[in-house]
């Protein structure tokens, strides 16, 4: 028993130390704020420019989130609950924009319509890129809902709209809330998409500030306001989410749900979906094809090197992130408790802050404390770990939950030592989850722009940074091959997410 008690506490220590490392950058930004002091910060925070940024950023969230919710939930309802023609194909296509990084989509729009910009342009580009983040959880929830509830509501005299409004929508609340929060956090942290169309938000302003004054107090002041906005969102979401749980009472195979006949409105629904997809996929794709056909963009010297460097950073980031995620996932599944929940929350908090703040924090820390690590592979990989950890955590938690302790115990009663039982039974069972988690992290890291720009060793050329330097200097044709490769890289992770959505339904 003693051995059994010692092990989890060692695990706890490891997880706690990792949590502190994860929270370092955030803590440092805040610490710098205190160190610089309010008298220096106040004039930097309260100035017209910040007011303008605040208006832009808040408007983006306040208008953008509802639009993505309408698009996401509407799309999910059409493909899951109506007789829309070709709904299987639509179901896949509606998730596809997720494979186009927002800054690539923005590039597609701005290179087609150079005058695009302002809050309108920002909203257009961002909602088209991010509505799938609401769509996917909404689809998953709709598939999981017990159709008997909807049937009962019909039997109680509700019409199709009544059923949707009073039975389906309330049950979608958690999915919508969660998806909306993720969209809001993305809107706050997006840099490339908005910088390309010259729409100023806190994040773009911090990068500008960083480029002119480095990690000075002005950048920190903006970072503190941005971090504050994120915290308000996180606290607001968890406060309004409540403790409500909607679960199916009873078991047995779920039947397929009631299908709503669209009738005369089918053509309108089809037209709306087609318009959405033309804007979200068609325009970027058309731009891409156009720029790829101009000149000979594939012959750029830097292309092969960028592919190799991207692969190297992405694979390293993926492996390290999964190794960091493993102990916390293990702890929360195998030894759940208040402390485990608290530590897991710390990880998610660290990851939910914008990449720009994480990057800023790491820049500050490395320069002040360990200059040798400034702009090193170590620091970029650490940033990837902090940013993409949730992807690995979600995958690993599900995987470990599917390898119950009882199997290890069975192996021990059959003569295996605890270590051998884990190696021969648990490891093979969580291997797919390890792989999926690593793939999701690696693909995300391969597309990462903001932190890579700030943290990578000078001379580093990744697909994203090469794309960025070409497109921001209006060399649209040179940027096109990188854009195509970035989309190709995103595809597998979107496919994994989509399949997970389907799987959860079973």
């Amino acid at each position: 028993m003693n051995a059994g008690r010692r092990r989890p506490s060692l695990l706890l220590v490891v997880v706690a130390v990792l949590a502190v490392v994860m929270l370092l950058p955030v803590g440092y930004v805040v610490a710098i704020g205190f160190q610089v002091g309010w008298p220096t910060l106040a004039p930097l925070v309260f100035r017209p420019k910040v007011g303008e940024l605040l208006v832009n950023t808040v408007l983006l969230v306040v208008l953008g989130v509802p639009v993505t919710v309408v698009l996401g939930v509407g799309g999910a309802w059409l493909v899951e609950r109506t007789n829309l023609p070709g709904r299987r194909v639509w179901a896949v296509l509606l998730a596809a924009p997720l494979a186009i990084p927002a800054f690539v989509s923005s590039y597609g729009w701005v290179s087609a319509i150079p005058s695009i910009g302002g809050i309108g342009g920002g909203l257009l580009v961002a909602t088209l890129a991010y509505y799938p983040l609401v769509y996917l959880p909404a689809v998953a929830t709709l598939r999981r809902l017990d159709p008997a509830l909807e049937e009962s509501a019909r039997a109680l005299g509700l019409g199709p709209w009544g059923v949707f409004a009073r039975v389906v929508l309330p049950q979608l609340r958690l999915a919508v809330w969660g998806g909306g929060l993720v969209v809001a956090l993305h809107l706050l942290s997006e840099y490339g998409a908005f910088a390309l169309i010259r729409f100023d938000t806190f994040t773009t302003a911090i990068v500008v500030q960083y480029q002119s004054t480095f990690a000075g107090p002005a950048a920190s002041a903006l970072g503190i306001v941005l971090a504050g906005l994120c915290l308000i969102l996180l606290v607001g979401e968890s406060a309004t989410r409540g403790t409500a749980r909607y679960s199916r009472v009873g078991s047995g195979a779920a039947r397929s749900a009631v299908v709503q006949r669209l009738g005369w409105s089918a053509p309108f629904a089809l037209a709306a979906l087609a318009a959405l997809l033309v804007a979200a996929i068609g325009v970027p794709a058309a731009s891409l094809v156009r720029w790829l056909s101009i000149g000979d963009p594939w012959s750029q010297r830097e292309l092969p090197g960028a592919i190799i460097q991207t692969a190297g950073l992405a694979v390293t980031g993926a492996v390290v992130t999964v190794l960091v995620a493993l102990p916390i996932a293990w702890l929360t599944v195998r030894r759940p408790g208040r402390l485990a929940r608290f530590l897991e929350g710390a990880y998610y908090l660290a990851s939910s802050l914008p990449a720009i703040i994480i990057a800023l924090g790491l820049v500050t820390i490395t320069i002040r404390i360990v200059p040798a690590l400034y702009q090193s592979v170590f620091t970029v990989v650490l940033a990837y770990v902090i940013i993409f950890l949730p992807r690995a955590l979600v995958s690993l938690r599900a995987g470990i939950a599917q390898a119950p302790v009882s199997l290890e115990e069975a192996a021990r009663s059959l003569g295996r030592s605890p270590l051998a039982a884990r190696a021969q039974v648990t490891l093979p069972l969580i291997l797919p989850a390890l792989g999926a988690g690593a793939a999701l992290v690696g693909l995300g890291a391969a597309n990462e722009l903001t932190a890579t720009l700030l943290l990578a060793p000078s001379g580093t050329r990744t697909l994203a940074t090469q794309f960025w330097s070409a497109s921001s200097s209006v060399a649209y044709s040179d940027a096109a091959p990188y854009a195509l490769l970035l989309i190709a890289l995103s595809f597998p992770s979107v496919a994994i997410l989509f399949l997970q959505t389907r799987k959860r339904a079973r």
């Binding site: 009882s406 115990e409 059959l414």
Partner: protein, 346 residues
């Protein structure tokens, strides 16, 4: 194979006592069932014997070997104690054959041991290539037993192995398992919450309530002579009638009955245990002692509820009858008891 002995085993979980001073002896080659309500500590008991948990106090020994309670407890994988979990816990990434082979030593894997134990639990070789999810619930449990038996453990522990199966499958799987255990001659402990299962399983039944073994013995003995009224009630439908006892006879509203076993306290009131099977009902009697208040038909059995002696005592009498029309509410009837009763403090 050796006798398994638990001495004074105590275990607390989260500050609550789960097992208190449990003593149990399972002679080698015998089968013991431990029966208790959920939360009575029976799964913990098995986990402690298997070595997944350690007791806070007390000793567990197998023959001359002290498994737990000594200076260095024997770890689970060296105990030679097989374990079959409630859901079978088959390894989902291994086939039936690989599952059964898992616990065998390398030389034994090449032997015919896998085929032997598979035959023992009636798993055909045609299933060897299947994965656990391709098996029925009953097949999964039989494979789990084969896997546990393959390395020839000294003791096999079964943790409610039939509870996940539906009624029809439960009986047939139980038969197959009992037969396999009989052939292998392994010492076995089964825990269950099902009284009938416990009473039909083996050589000894132990009743676990509130973390203590309240009674243990051969099943027929325990059923015939429950140590307390609570045990009697737990083991099967019981009717308790207030009684007065004198000269080996218990007098109740239903007459005078010989006392088979007497658990009276020195002072106070008493009650007599009557099993429903001992009751008979007759509406044609000239000296009725009860009134029918309700008649329910469940299949071929008729459940007649009567009030006895004009008082509030409600008694439900099962009556297997082809002619249900004879009984109806409001009728007077005579209820009589055959055989002796067991007397407890009221």
């Amino acid at each position: 194979m050796s006798t398994l002995t638990l001495t004074d085993v105590t275990k607390h979980l989260g500050g609550h006592p789960v097992l208190q001073n449990v003593d149990l002896t399972v002679p080698r080659g015998s089968r013991t069932s431990v029966v208790g309500a959920s939360g009575s500590g029976k799964s913990t008991l098995l986990r402690i014997i298997a070595g997944f948990d350690a007791p806070d106090a007390g000793r567990i020994s197998l023959g001359d070997v002290l498994l737990a309670g000594g200076a260095s407890p024997v770890p689970a994988h060296q105990r030679g104690v097989g374990y079959v979990a409630q859901d079978g816990a088959l390894f989902p990434h291994l086939t039936v054959e690989q599952n059964i082979r898992f616990g065998l030593s390398r030389p034994a894997r090449r032997s015919t041991r896998v085929a032997e134990v598979a035959e023992l639990v009636a798993i055909g070789a045609n299933l060897f290539g299947r994965y656990p999810h391709e098996l029925s619930g009953g097949q999964q449990q039989r494979v789990a037993l084969a896997r546990a038996l393959a390395p020839e453990p000294q003791v096999v522990l079964l943790d409610e192995p039939f509870s996940a199966l539906d009624t029809g499958l439960r009986a047939s799987t139980r038969e197959a398992v009992i037969q396999a255990l009989e052939h292998s001659g392994v010492t076995t402990i089964l825990v269950t919450h099902d009284q009938d299962e416990a009473l039909s399983f083996g050589d000894q039944v132990a009743i676990l309530a509130g973390g203590r073994i309240s009674q243990a013995g051969p099943p027929s003995e325990v059923y015939d002579n429950p140590g307390t009224a609570d045990i009697a009630d737990f083991l099967g439908d019981s009717i308790f009638l207030p009684c007065e006892v004198s000269a080996g006879e218990a007098r109740t509203v239903l007459g005078s009955h010989p006392v088979r076993h007497d658990h009276r306290a020195a002072i106070g009131l008493h009650r007599a245990l009557v099993r429903p099977a001992q009751l008979a009902i007759d509406v044609g009697s000239t000296s009725p002692n009860a009134t029918i208040v309700d008649v329910q038909s469940v299949g071929s059995t008729l459940y007649v509820t009567v009030t006895i002696g004009g008082g509030g005592e409600l008694v439900r009498v099962p009556y297997v009858t082809p002619v249900p029309e004879r009984y109806s509410a409001g009728q007077d009837a005579r209820v009589s008891v055959t055989g002796g009763v067991v007397v407890y403090p009221a």
